[in-house]
């Protein structure tokens, strides 16, 4: 059985739905409080997947995800590095993505933070459904066989920004730009299809191995048909596309870990 650790701390608030999505994908999912990880640095060893769910860790008052990022970077450095080196999977959703980026884990070119998720151009929190298009050449294991995906976003700080042109080039060259915002027809997104002003409409990226993945939108909120805004029109949808993200991860883990 694949086991998923859903990291939990003050302000985490999408833990239940993230765990549920992994359960539906066939894994066993557990809420793991950061304080337990601090106490027992080997606790992560029994898990194959680490999920950092959405929320407002420590309030996000300073810069979203910053404090948790530092705890991963400085207090749990060892367990996280080991986890990554063992070839295991990490997904960060929304606040979790902000954490991965600020801890320098994504895009993972060096320990240093090279990209960030800045305040939305609208200067507001926005909750809406958007469309994503997956990069077919991306090594990301979470997005295998996904093309377009309708999914909700809900954030105030999701504008993808890079520190230099070089970083952006490298992300694109490695096909680490996993998801981009598109319009309903799959074309270039304008606001509000790109809800935050992200450069190149980037919604999610992975590391060069494709095993660490972060995105602003919430696939766990698109994992059961009743979560879709038009579910009564499409009750016969075979499988909610959001769930595929979690299934891909579990399948990969079953095969490789």
């Amino acid at each position: 059985m694949i086991r998923v650790a859903s990291l939990f701390t003050a302000g985490t608030n999408c833990d239940e739905e993230t765990m549920l999505a992994f359960e539906m994908a066939g894994a066993k999912s557990e809420r793991v409080h950061l304080n337990l990880l601090k106490k027992n640095r080997r606790l992560l060893e029994k898990y194959q997947i680490l999920a950092i769910p959405g929320g407002f860790t420590y309030g996000d008052y300073i810069s979203a995800g910053k404090i948790l990022a530092n705890e991963l970077q400085y207090i749990l450095e060892h367990s996280i590095t080991e986890f990554i080196q063992a070839g295991k999977l990490i997904i960060g959703i929304c606040n979790g993505f902000q954490v991965l980026v600020k801890a320098g884990i994504l895009p993972g070119f060096s320990q240093k933070q090279s990209v960030t998720l800045d305040v939305n151009d609208s200067n507001r929190f926005e909750c809406r459904w958007v469309y994503l298009k997956a990069n077919p050449k991306s090594p990301c294991v979470f997005t295998k066989d996904i093309d377009m995906m309708p999914v909700p976003v809900a954030h105030a700080e999701g504008k993808f920004v890079v520190d230099s042109e070089k970083t952006l080039k490298k992300i694109k060259k490695n096909n680490q730009d996993v998801f981009t915002y598109v319009n309903q027809k799959g074309g270039k997104a304008q606001y509000p299809d790109n809800p935050n002003g992200s450069i190149e409409d980037i919604a999610g990226i992975c590391d060069s191995t494709g095993r660490i993945f972060g995105l602003m939108p919430h696939p766990e909120r698109a994992s059961s048909i009743y979560q879709y805004p038009d579910w009564f029109m499409s009750k016969h949808m075979q499988e909610p596309i959001g769930l595929k993200v979690f299934k891909n991860a579990v399948k990969y883990a079953q095969k490789n870990l």
């Binding site: 608030n13 999408c14 309030g59 909750c127 919430h218 029109m233």
Partner: protein, 992 residues
């Protein structure tokens, strides 16, 4: 002396916050601003080296990709405070959540003794005078109630959290030898809000004891006997004069509201009126709790903090229900003055409407989103009458295991306080709520205004739900109005000993009385059995929640308050809870409600209905509330199935919200509301209409009217004025009458009275009396719910419900008629008709329609509310991207036919039916528009055969809405895109 460090953070590129602010400044009327820069400042008082501060900044404070940082030491570098800048900081003692969270993070790193405050510096460039900068600051940048602008030396006073033990001097207040007027002086000067009779009863009690009360005892009476805690107006005897009739009402709550519930005796009501929320049955395992609160006074003075602590408070009500319900949804209903109300009409001393709107929405957003609770249901209503007293209703829906609904008081259980620390915040909040606001309120009541810290409450929630599931406590309640005094006084009614020095404080210098009555946020009281304390403490440590044992429960009937070993208060619990003298109140209906029939129905009005519809669609009460709603995370928890916006492009206004709380069950919860303050002529029918609207919305999405429970929230003016109290009586009577016929029990409620504002000129402004009805219903199968958008072309459109007699009062309000053709305005003004309906017919309509929806015969359903038929049809069309063709002739013909065959009692007034305006725009109650696939026509009609319905047209494959008049002529032909655009843009652009 510790160093004070100033860390400056500045955005690298364009700063969206500065851009938005620049826009607001220009809109405010100040030209000459060229640019604006915002610097985010952290003041850090700590024994640290520059290297350490640098490290802290790098690790915790700034984002190297998007920000620049600068570190200054305060002593040796004079801060350049440019003339063209202003720096805003929270006042000492006011919750600064950013600082609070930085301190927690630093403590985690091992920096225990750091004090942090945050500030923002605004640097203006361009040609601005000092006066203009001051003006900008006061109107757009800060609220002097909670913030101040910084002058050089002030920052040096960072509060020291070390508590020094002070010498305990017990304060006695001399009352036993005072005259009544002296007693009232005491009540006034101490902000006790106790009236003469109450003061006298207390005096007599202490005369018998042969001593004076201590200050803390007197305060305990003031808190416990406050309107907020005791609901005196709703429980007292009222002499009600209505014309020649005179009657004595033995308590409004008992005689009307609770009576409905008692008489209906629904077995699916699991807990009513006795706990912090009402609870109804969800299934054999769970109950659904629901509570709605108001936070009007604080939101008028400090919109952001007031609204945030309002939502924070009602979430704690949810946690304090039984042994803790898990919050699964928030609701919010606001009544504001319109955002563009002219400046000269805004009374002096009152914040501008737009500032209030922005602040309130941001407050609810920041608290609800951070807590991870979807804010998914609500309403926003605009009327100039709310300019000085905006209404802010906040509600929380929770889910609770049925075996956790009851609390147990066990002798010897420990009184445990969890959550935030106690400061001077919110002192006298409840007594303040029982006073009118005036231009001076800002000075006397600043302690009653607070800022919330949602992450503290999130941790408290996590801890409580874990502790509940591990059976670690026997009872709980929230610390809300009245602070510890109400929480312990209420829950520990059997007797308790409290050691006040055990309460953790934010800063030194609080007196024992302040500790007892502080309304500091994010605190809960739990009764923990001694043998479970260790387990509880371990759990709270994991969740990083501060926990203190502050006393013990017993069965002595005495409340003993101690401070460092000294007894400072000793009160008989029986007198505290039963000693309150009954108030005597008078209500008088001065004018009998006039009934103006729609005699003007035939009057020629503007025939350009296209323009009228577009104008109505853009009026604020009808226009899309997207600007508000999308700032809320209405999807978090992943359970929101029918969202605030529905339809093809997710922009149609849903009638109600449906959540599916349990993953492997198809049962769902539907939540709606009804609020009709526009209908001020007759409080009875205003209340009746609110109930009808709430139930209508439930039925419209597929909820069962026979399994619907409601909540009442009254916001009224000063009830000591007989004519204002008369309205309240009438509204309560309607609650009984309509509730009884509809079969909707009341499960919880709250009142906020004294919503008046005395302007500096001495004029008293009272709010429009407003009753909010919130409704909750359980749907057995979510697959039987529907939404309001048209789904397919070539389906039949039916109008369900009785034909309208008139345009209802709503549009009579000029502020709603912004830009309507003058002819229609005057029509609406005169065509006021008391909106009566027959509840017996209404419930028949609800049941019939519910059966049709449940049987899968209806593809879309929308209730008729603001703007009537034309607006409901327009919304259904553009939400579904499907056109419609509707024939008004059908309605009149059907009506005539009905009258001929049945001698309907309305026949004398049918003349006005020819008025197309009436047919298009009337807002009369209990009406719906539905679409029905052709193949279901006969089955649908046979289910509806005993209630009024008319087939009025069909959906068409077109991008236009077409309406044909009573003579068959085309009177409306509008492009869907155009309607959608004006509807979507109106409020959003007003709020930019």
């Amino acid at each position: 002396m510790k160093n004070i460090w100033r860390i400056e953070i500045c955005k690298k590129g364009v700063n969206p916050e500065a851009e938005v602010l620049k826009h607001s400044i220009r809109e405010f009327g100040i030209k000459g601003l060229k640019d604006l820069q915002i610097i985010y400042i952290y003041y850090l008082q700590a024994d640290l080296s520059e290297k350490e501060v640098y490290k802290i900044t790098q690790q915790y404070i700034y984002d190297p990709v998007s920000e620049d940082s600068k570190i200054l030491r305060l002593e040796d570098s004079k801060i350049e405070r440019k003339r063209n800048s202003i720096e805003v900081i929270y006042r000492p003692g006011v919750m600064d959540p950013t600082a609070e969270n930085v301190m927690t993070a630093l403590a985690d790193l091992g920096y225990q003794d750091c004090q942090v405050r945050t500030a923002k510096q605004y640097i203006f460039s361009g040609q601005l005078t000092q006066k203009q900068i001051k003006n900008i600051a006061e109107n757009l940048l800060y609220n002097p109630l909670v913030q101040e602008t910084l002058r050089d030396s002030k920052i040096l006073r960072l509060e020291d959290s070390k508590i020094k033990k002070t010498d305990v001097q017990v304060q006695y207040i001399d009352i036993i030898n005072k005259t009544t007027s002296e007693l009232m002086d005491i009540s006034k000067s101490r902000l006790l809000a106790l009236n003469a009779k109450e003061m006298q009863v207390i005096q007599k009690y202490y005369q018998k004891l042969g001593r004076n009360p201590t200050d803390i005892e007197l305060e305990t009476f003031a808190q416990t006997w406050s309107e907020h805690c005791k609901h005196k107006t709703f429980s007292t005897d009222i002499t009600f004069k209505d014309g020649k009739k005179k009657q004595v009402i033995k308590g409004l709550l008992k005689s009307y509201i609770k009576k409905v519930t008692q008489e209906l005796d629904r077995k699916w009501c699991l807990s009513v009126f006795e706990d912090n929320s009402g609870v109804v049955e969800f299934d054999h395992k769970y109950g659904i709790s629901f509570k709605v609160e108001t936070h009007n006074h604080p939101s008028a003075l400090e919109p952001y903090g007031g609204a945030a602590t309002g939502i924070g408070g009602v979430i704690r009500d949810c946690l304090g229900t039984g042994l803790g319900a898990k919050p699964i949804m928030n609701t919010d209903v606001f009544c504001f003055a319109p955002p563009d109300m002219p400046k000269h009409k805004v009374p002096k001393g009152v914040l501008a409407p737009k500032r209030i709107i922005k602040g309130v929405v941001a407050g609810v957003r920041d608290y609800g989103n951070r807590m991870g609770i979807p804010t998914a249901s609500g309403a926003v209503y605009f009327n100039e009458g709310f300019v000085a007293n905006p209404l802010v209703y906040c509600g929380t829906v929770g889910i609770i295991p049925r075996n956790k609904i009851n609390k147990k008081i066990v002798n010897g259980d420990l009184i445990v306080l969890i959550g935030g620390r106690t400061g001077r915040d919110g002192i006298h909040g409840v007594t303040f709520a029982s006073l009118e606001l005036d231009g001076e309120s800002k000075h006397v009541s600043s302690g009653a205004v607070q800022i919330g810290n949602p992450i503290e409450e999130k941790k408290v929630t996590d801890l409580m739900l874990d502790a509940r599931d591990q059976n670690l406590f026997n009872a709980t309640t929230d610390c809300g109005g009245g602070g510890l005094s109400s929480a312990i006084g209420e829950l520990g009614k059997t007797g308790a000993v409290v050691k006040l020095e055990k309460v953790p404080l934010k800063y030194a210098g609080l007196s024992y009385t302040e500790i007892w009555i502080s309304e500091a946020q994010e605190r809960m009281i739990l009764f923990v059995p001694k043998k479970k304390l260790t387990a509880f403490l371990k759990l709270s440590k994991m969740h990083n929640v501060e926990t203190s044992v502050i006393g013990e429960v017993n069965f002595s009937n005495r409340l003993i308050l101690k401070y460092y070993g000294k007894k400072v208060g000793d009160i008989d619990m029986r007198f505290l809870h039963d000693g309150l003298p009954k108030k005597e109140m008078n209500a008088e209906q001065t004018q009998t409600a006039e009934t103006i029939h729609a005699k003007n129905g035939k009057r020629k009005t503007s025939t350009d209905y296209n323009q009228t519809i577009l104008k109505l669609l853009s009026s604020y009460n009808i226009a899309s509330k997207e600007w508000v709603v999308r700032q809320y995370d209405f999807e978090v928890q992943g359970k929101t199935s029918i969202k605030p916006f529905v339809g093809k492009k997710n922009n149609g206004p849903s009638d109600a919200c449906v959540i599916k709380p349990i993953a492997d069950s198809n049962k769902a919860v539907v939540i709606s509301c009804g609020v009709c303050p526009q209908y001020q002529k007759d409080a009875y029918w205003m209340a009746a209409s609110a109930i009808d609207e709430a139930v209508r919305n439930i039925v419209a999405v597929g909820g069962d009217p026979d399994k619907t429970a409601v909540l009442d929230n009254f916001c009224w003016g000063n009830p000591e004025k007989p004519e204002i109290l008369a309205g309240l009586v009438k509204a309560c009577q309607a609650c009984y009458d309509i509730g009884k016929v509809y079969g909707t029990p009341f499960i919880s409620g709250k009142d906020s009275l004294y919503n008046e504002y005395k302007s500096i000129e001495g004029e008293t402004l009272s709010i429009p009396s407003t009753l909010l009805i919130s409704a909750v219903s359980i749907i057995p199968d979510i697959n039987k719910t529907i939404t309001m958008d048209f789904k397919r072309p070539d389906e039949l459109i039916y109008l369900i419900g009785k034909m309208p007699l008139s345009l209802r009062g709503s549009k009579s309000d000029r502020s709603n008629l912004r830009g309507l053709p003058h002819s229609l305005q005057s029509f609406a003004m005169t065509a006021e008709e008391i909106l009566k309906f027959n509840p017996r017919l209404s419930i028949k309509i609800f049941r019939a329609l519910h059966r049709a929806i449940k049987s899968g015969l209806v593809s879309a359903c929308h209730d008729l509310s603001e703007g009537g038929l034309a607006i409901a049809l327009a919304e259904m069309c553009f939400a579904g991207g499907i056109g419609a063709e509707v024939f008004l002739k059908n309605t009149t013909e059907a009506q005539r036919h009905r009258e001929k065959t049945r001698k309907d009692s309305v026949s004398s007034e049918t003349l006005c039916l020819d008025g197309e305006s009436v047919l298009l725009f009337s807002e009369s109650n209990t009406r719906f528009l539905v679409s029905v696939p052709k193949e279901h026509k006969s089955r649908f009609e046979s289910l509806m055969k005993n209630v009024p319905y008319t087939e009025i047209g069909k959906t068409i494959l077109s991008d236009r809405m077409k309406i044909y008049g009573v003579k068959g002529k085309s009177i409306v032909n509008l492009e869907l895109k155009k309607m959608e655009k004006v509807w979507s843009n109106s409020l959003s652009s007003a709020m930019q």
